[in-house]
Amino acid sequence: MAYSFLQEYWWFLISVLGALLVFLMFVQGGQSLLLQKDISERNRELLLDSIAHRWELTFTTLVTFGGAFFASFPLFYSTSFGGAYWVWMIILFTFIVQAVSYKYRSAEGNRLGRETYDKFLIANGIIAPLLLGGAVSTFFYGSDFTVQMDNLTRDPVTTGNVISTWGQYHGLEVLLNWRVVCFGLMVLFLTRIQALMWFVNRIDNDDIQKWSREQTVINTAVFLVLFLVSVYALLTATGLKTVDVHQFQIIRYRYLLNLIQMPAALVAFLAGTLLVLGGIIWTVLKTEFRNGIWLTGTGTVLVVLALFWIAGYNSTPYYPSYTDINSSLTIYNSSSSQFTLETMSYVSLAIPFVFAYIAWVWYKLVK
């Protein structure tokens, strides 16, 4: 198999995992809704019950997403994780506490009390989508790093040099970039809408059905504003084009051009957007319609796929550096070797079987 094909194939797999992760973060969206005061204690428990047995799947997808990134694009793993230290650390803190909260919150002897675990869930529910969304948006808006491979032959202790060097704020500087913040908030509100769709689909309770539809309207209003602003910011953004392995050229409207030049991405983006909006509108307007989650879920997956494709394909560096544009990472200059990608590609052929048994098990569990 050609090396470039393998690199593109693995970027496709990463985009699939990323898209599934964003969809599965409806669990986080549901947790963030625990902040709402206009719902009874009993109904809150019903909401939590409906997402409680799904967190493992989201968590596992996140771990696999990280592992797959490490295996296929180690220079990104090395650069982003080692540099945007605080972003990843804060994400980690919230996932640690989430992992135990569902099991421990109602267990006797949990020492911290139910309310503390609920706060953990809320923290994870808000921070994880916000920061993961923000982290993904740096695929378009860039980060503050330089990559210098030669530093490998210089002892860090005596020279202070490592391969990837970052600015002093270690990723937190993106919080000052309104486009990144807007993108993160958009992902947060998308996960909340997905969660509301999930509640409508799973919980046979009139109060919750009504409440979820009302909340969908409010959250959709916020989401739409954030979505339109984010799409505008993205499609008018200046991006980079690869000229040589480590040489790039600045291009205006880079991502708009990518959408136009990649019909598959354009179709996925438009179809996904329509499905998300269609799922929301149908759910809000037709009280007997409860399958909105599958429309919005499919739509979310398609939109995220399109975003990953315009970020990484068509000679676009998926991790631009605004400090030193020649340090930007592409799927070609940051990937694993041909041998490793080929070996893992054979392994990846088993992924559909993994999905198949997961689907079968969950079908049986929720039947």
Binding site: V63, L92, T153, V157
Partner: protein
Amino acid sequence: MNDILTAIDWSRAQFAMTAMYHWLFVPLTLGLGLVVAIMETIYARKKLNPSTPQSETEEWLDLTKFWMRLFGVNFAIGVATGIVLEFEFGTNWSNYSWFVGDIFGAPLAIEGIFAFFCESTFFAVMFFGWEKFSIRQHCAATWLTAFGASLSAWWILVANSWMQHPVGMDFDPAQMRNVMTSFVDVALSPTAVNKFFHVITSSWSLGACFVISVCGWYLLKGRHTQFAVKSIKVAGVVGLVGILGTMITGDSSAVQVTKDQPMKLAAMEGLYEGKQGADLVAFGILNPGKKWDNDQDAMLFEIKIPKGLSILGRHDPDAFIPGIKDIIEGRDMIDGQEINTVNYNERILRGRIAHKALRDYNQAREYKDSIGMDRATEKLARHYQFFGYGYLGKADEAIPPVAMTFYPFHIMVALGTWMLLFLIATVWIVFRRQEWTKYQIAGYPVYPWLAIITAPIAWVCSQCGWIVAELGRQPWAIQDIMPVQAAISSVGSGNVKLTFFIFLFLFTCLLLAEIGIMLKQIKNKK
């Protein structure tokens, strides 16, 4: 420069702390998973056999569900600490992540794709699928959860073993990193296979000791006696098989360490000067003033097993085992013939030559000088095996912390021996002499108390094993190729200190919560 040194130390401390917390939970998941799977299999067989009295079937269902609940409490926190380890490779060891990511990342990805999904999916069936799946399907899900956990351990141990003994790779100067050349060599290296079975079987014995310990408390209190005896029967057999497996694989592990990481073996034994027919220290106190190049005695006090170390390391009572001084000065002896290995000063020199060759390669590439590139590549290949030594200032930087390796090793062996004796006695007592469980000395029931103290012993033993494995290979992140100081990220020490204490606080709170929940579950068992 000082800040980087501090950041390295705190990054090491953070990784070690995370790994040690993680290893409080994982062996219990591995061991208890097997115990629960066996119990459910017994239950399923009884349930499917119409001649089994219903009370007996329900008893096994009760056993299965009780231990499964404790398994569930422990499972979540193991998952939580595990994700931190995966991400810390990137956050704190970014040079490392690039330098060997081509090899190291693959096992982590495969672990995610196969093991984690298997574990988490069938875990859900275990807990929420009693009414939705047939008995056979549910039992299969329990086995698959245990299998998934073991599969996860397999891939992470493949990654760890590769760091201890790198195989199946070449350095590619054009890419400035190591690249995989044989996946089979990496995934099935003898080091990985041995380490996997060592870890898995030791975890079985730890899980079994936990079960026996809880049951010891029930026996002490005179509660749920039949439940306790039945649980001990299953756990006793699992534990005994586990500890025997641990000892057998521990023996082959010692042979591998002698061959591939002789410095680690020397540190484990506090052996500075090698000898033929080397003795094994059964008990000893190290002399803190001893250095590899002074003439002080290595030990203040010691009890030795004659020729024990030669038997352990080379399966030959008269074999030569090199000490720290021999290794640094490049001496060894195989089959009675003295051989010269490469001394550490030369290794450092050759490591620096390799670094220079790599710089020359890059410069030649910049000028498109193919002859210069070929020359540099050839020189680099000749010296690459000592690449990591090029980062060291002097030879003694390549010596692991001897006391931190020696004492945990001896504690591990002593406690492991206790576990072996206790588990043999347990199996004998529960299958042949159940009345002995009530035997008392001065009014204290002996067996229940011994059972209770064996669980913490098993944990200390297990932790010591990892301390030996990881501290004994210092200063290497990857043996001979990359010391930890070269593996670092560009994060300031203040950041790492802060995250260290946040992790410490979080993990400690969650550990206390887990213990609290488990104790409640155990005390409130109906």
